[in-house]
Symmetry: C2
Subunit: 172 residues, 2 copies
Amino acid sequence: MALGKDYLGQDCSLSRALELLGERWTLLVVQNALYGVRRFNDFQVRLDIPKAVLSDRLVRLTEGGVLEKRQYQASPPRFEYLLTDAGVELWPVVYALSVWSHRHIGGEPPRLFRHADCRTKLLPTGDCPECGPVAAGDVEMYPGPGPKRDDPVSRAMNRPRRLLEPVVPEPA
Amino acid sequence: MALGKDYLGQDCSLSRALELLGERWTLLVVQNALYGVRRFNDFQVRLDIPKAVLSDRLVRLTEGGVLEKRQYQASPPRFEYLLTDAGVELWPVVYALSVWSHRHIGGEPPRLFRHADCRTKLLPTGDCPECGPVAAGDVEMYPGPGPKRDDPVSRAMNRPRRLLEPVVPEPA
DNA sequence: TCCCTAGGTTCATTGAACGAACCTAGGAGT
DNA sequence: ACTCCTAGGTTCGTTCAATGAACCTAGGGA
């Protein structure tokens, strides 16, 4: 975002959220973290995002308390980025915006979401019509009618799976 | 957003929403439209946004079906921008993100929101804990503890008022 | 005649996004 | 012993959106 990613003169909570989440690519990174993507190269392959931008976004999300960087292997040192509790709480926002997009912009959704316990499709709020509020970890993602990207990470997401369950792409 | 405001290679609904709503300032324009701001100069005064950017965002939101441009006076010709039904349906997204920001980033909210009928504070989803789903027009906005901007448009928003009710700033 | 208002447009400057190239350290293959 | 591969980045020149000050236009009011 050119010349100032901040909104200094604003008085609302939304502007503070947008300083952290409103930059290009940022919310897509969070969405894919909810889908189970954890590693730098997996984000990069799935999003086709310039590495320098991805690096910046991961740092900012980590500093902002949305992600946590963890070493998952000592030698050679390798890292993954996990959503914090605050990050997981962005699920309703991401889902509501996706539903809005499908309703008002159009396009077939490549992935659908239901309550894992009762298999009921979620309301736009992310709640289950039968059971009420649903934790993000109890949401099951399964393939929808829309076209899907063809890369190893996206392919690994085609099996029905819960949110936050780590994506393990097959090696090429 | 530099070099491409689009996300062409993406397969998700969210990326299509972000092509329309994800640029700098855009969601703040929608938020203020929900708060009752309708006129070019009122958006400009309240947001301190460069006029060229505001002009671009209003055109894009209008083309995208979020706003509708209407002439409210013939001579001299004057215009206002009203939210469409699709635009009003962004209220839960805007509200959920504001609540997230207050919970996880902090800061006092300058405005609070309750169900106008029963005066109960809304859930983060925008629903009323007592009555269930609430239409945006039945949400009442009232001043909260946080600091407020001091401009004629922001001052006009300090009286308790329903969402979408037109803001009428006092002339300076 | 002059100024004011609403609703913009024009333009030079700045700095974020892009993407290709490069880097580093540890295994793995031959 | 040497080379390749992988994960996880960094560097850097190019492109283009954001900024803000100046300007524009048409009608009304003093």
